[in-house]
């Protein structure tokens, strides 16, 4: 086999490996692209570190909360308030009521999604029950907080936003996840699940 052929084979084999690696690189690339552009209503699953979001002259927008239990996950899960008005550039705290109505301890993960999708990149959260998995004993209930802010760069064409949370049952995944520190989910703080009870019920 001539030298040219050997060189071509080497180059092509490298290209094959390169493209295989590229396909895996698409995973973080996709996330980066989503975060930067707010595609797919994806919101960051970690607290914002930006301290300069607050302004005094923001405008009012309508905010609606929507909840869904994936695969009829049996907990009660609903927003304390369905529709509120918030100001851009000001923090607001909302709560979600959650209750484990079954006879087993279960662990849940809430996944947020925003509509319209171009609002997502302007939504930042200081804390959110979606940053961590939530564990509840049988019959246990809680009021889970989310402290959020829309920055003032939110396009003026957006006058109302819907934030949806889907609750997933991750009871089986839990052990595998705990064993994996620093997983794709970017857990906030330590691994112990915790939730604040803002008031008794």
């Amino acid at each position: 086999m001539n030298e040219g052929s050997k060189k071509t084979i080497k180059r092509l084999s490298l290209a094959v490996l390169g493209m295989f690696t590229f396909s895996f690189a698409l995973v973080p690339l996709y996330d980066v692209f989503c975060e930067v552009t707010g595609l797919n209503g994806k919101i960051e699953l970690k607290a914002t570190s930006n301290n300069n979001l607050e302004v005094d002259d923001g405008r009012e927008i309508a905010l609606q909360f929507v909840s869904h239990n994936n695969e009829e996950m049996p907990w009660v899960f609903r927003p304390s308030e369905r529709a509120i008005k918030v100001q851009t550039g000001k923090y607001h705290t909302a709560t979600f009521y959650v209750k484990n109505t079954t006879k087993k301890t279960m662990v849940a993960q809430a996944i947020p999604s925003v509509a319209p999708s171009n609002a997502a990149s302007h939504l930042k959260k200081l804390e959110c029950f979606c940053f961590e998995q939530q564990e509840l004993a049988p019959g246990e209930e809680a009021l889970l907080p989310v402290r959020l802010i829309f920055d003032n760069e939110l396009p003026t064409s957006i006058k109302s936003v819907v934030i949806s949370y889907t609750l997933f049952d991750v009871t089986d995944y839990k052990d595998a996840e705990l064993a994996k520190q620093g997983s794709e989910m970017d857990h906030h703080g330590d691994q112990h699940t915790d939730h604040e009870m803002e008031s008794t019920l």
């Binding site: 086999m1 001539n2 040219g4 052929s5 071509t8 084979i9 092509l12 084999s13 290209a15 094959v16 490996l17 390169g18 493209m19 295989f20 590229f22 396909s23 895996f24 698409l26 995973v27 996709y30 989503c34 552009t37 707010g38 595609l39 797919n40 209503g41 994806k42 699953l45 994936n70 993960q109 996944i111 999708s117 171009n118 889907t166 997933f168 049952d169 991750v170 995944y173 595998a176 996840e177 997983s183 794709e184 989910m185 970017d186």
Partner: protein, 526 residues
Amino acid sequence: MSAVLESHDHDHHGPAKGLTRWLYTTNHKDIGTLYLWFSFSMFLIGGAMAMVIRAELFQPGMQIVQPEFYNQMLTLHGLIMIFGGVMPAFVGLANWLVPMMVGAPDMALPRMNNLSFWILPFAFLILLSSLFMEGGAPNFGWTFYAPLSTTYAPPSVTFFIFSVHIMGASSIMGAINVIVTIMNMRAPGMTLMKMPLFVWSWLITAYLLIAVMPVLAGAVTMMLMDIHFGTSFFNAAGGGDPVLFQHIFWFFGHPEVYIMILPAFGITSHIIETFSRKQLFGHTSMVWAMGSIAILSFVVWAHHMFTVGLPLAAELFFMWATMLIAVPTGVKVFNWVTTMFKGSITFETPMLFAIAFVVLFTIGGFSGLMLAITPADFQYHDTYFVVAHFHYVLVPGAIFSIMAAVYYWIPKWTGHMYDERLGKLHFWLSFIGVNVTFFPQHWIGLAGMPRRVPDYALQFADWNMVSSVGAFLFGASQILFLFIVIKTVLGGKKATPQVWEGARGLEWTLDSPPPYHTFATPPKIT
């Protein structure tokens, strides 16, 4: 397929005797033959599944199969036709023709060539055996979107993934072989622009394969990890995204459909040139067109995803980029027509298939252009309109070009002319069958029937019945094709080296059939 003829170089033997010849062969002609027969059998098996599908859709109601089995049929039909039918057929043609067309003695890596072929029957054995596994065969469509194909998949999904990895490896190795052969083993004097268009089409196709088959491998590996190793690439609960799957899949999937049509373009150029007895119009332009199509094919993938909730900017970009592909494709059609214009045309069977390709593929292109228009696509997506579109470009598109190629080159491969009357009969039955099957599907889709359903509302009944009748006709006609091919292998009027009056190219300087080893000494290129 190649008779044992003495070549002029006496240090080459003829083929080995017995069945092990086929197992161990490193000869490009033998391997081409293996690929072609394998592809034909897969075409018949995938076709049988299509018959089950169309039989169930013959009338409203469930008559023949259960919905869960129907989903297995439609999934396997797609996988087998694409990875077992069309792609291996084109690889088989590449194997037979590329070395002869560039004046090379064989492919660059003959033993890898053998491996590339033999892992394919192995892969399909695994895939087809999944029909007998608990939970049944894969049932999530050939596009296997997550989470239907991960969390909700039957146990056979793991075998499906294994099978896809093997098919991918076969394609990648084949592509490497093609590129190295073309880039390094052309006869002296054959510059790239002197290369025939079939060779060009395969050079470009091979680069596409190198670029995207590994991405498919990545996608199924991620699936495997989500299913068995607790990762969450595509699982929202774990922070993943089902839409990510679609991006990765279609990044492979769109170039894949051009992989399935570029060699067809090459074949068509050869046949139209020969039977018009006139040099192909715009050779350079044709090369540029194929190159542009290949490059553009990388930036249009999300036109398969217009309804997933992409942002406006993305939808606009993908709409415009997709529309743009119509330009180089149109250029090719215009060049073929202009080749025929003021030519001296006869209508042997290969020419009939090639002309039908140009017309019917173009119709498929028109529905493709309609699909590119995003707001309209909201009404077409996942309906029978899409099914009509891709079957037009794949059946009277890719498959007709393969049949055209077989009729065109089989006298060269076997030394026998096929029966022209039977060939024409096969053509007309197929032509009528294909149009009766797929044209009404445009209407059914526009009227509101979704795809991948085993049953439908009553207003779709009439045209579904028509479509099914066409499918049965088309299916039956392929048995005639099988008969014609076998008959030709076994005997027929002796073929000259030139075979066709207007044929140009190195392969037509060789005997029909050619010696087992050809061009051991490179030919002189003028």
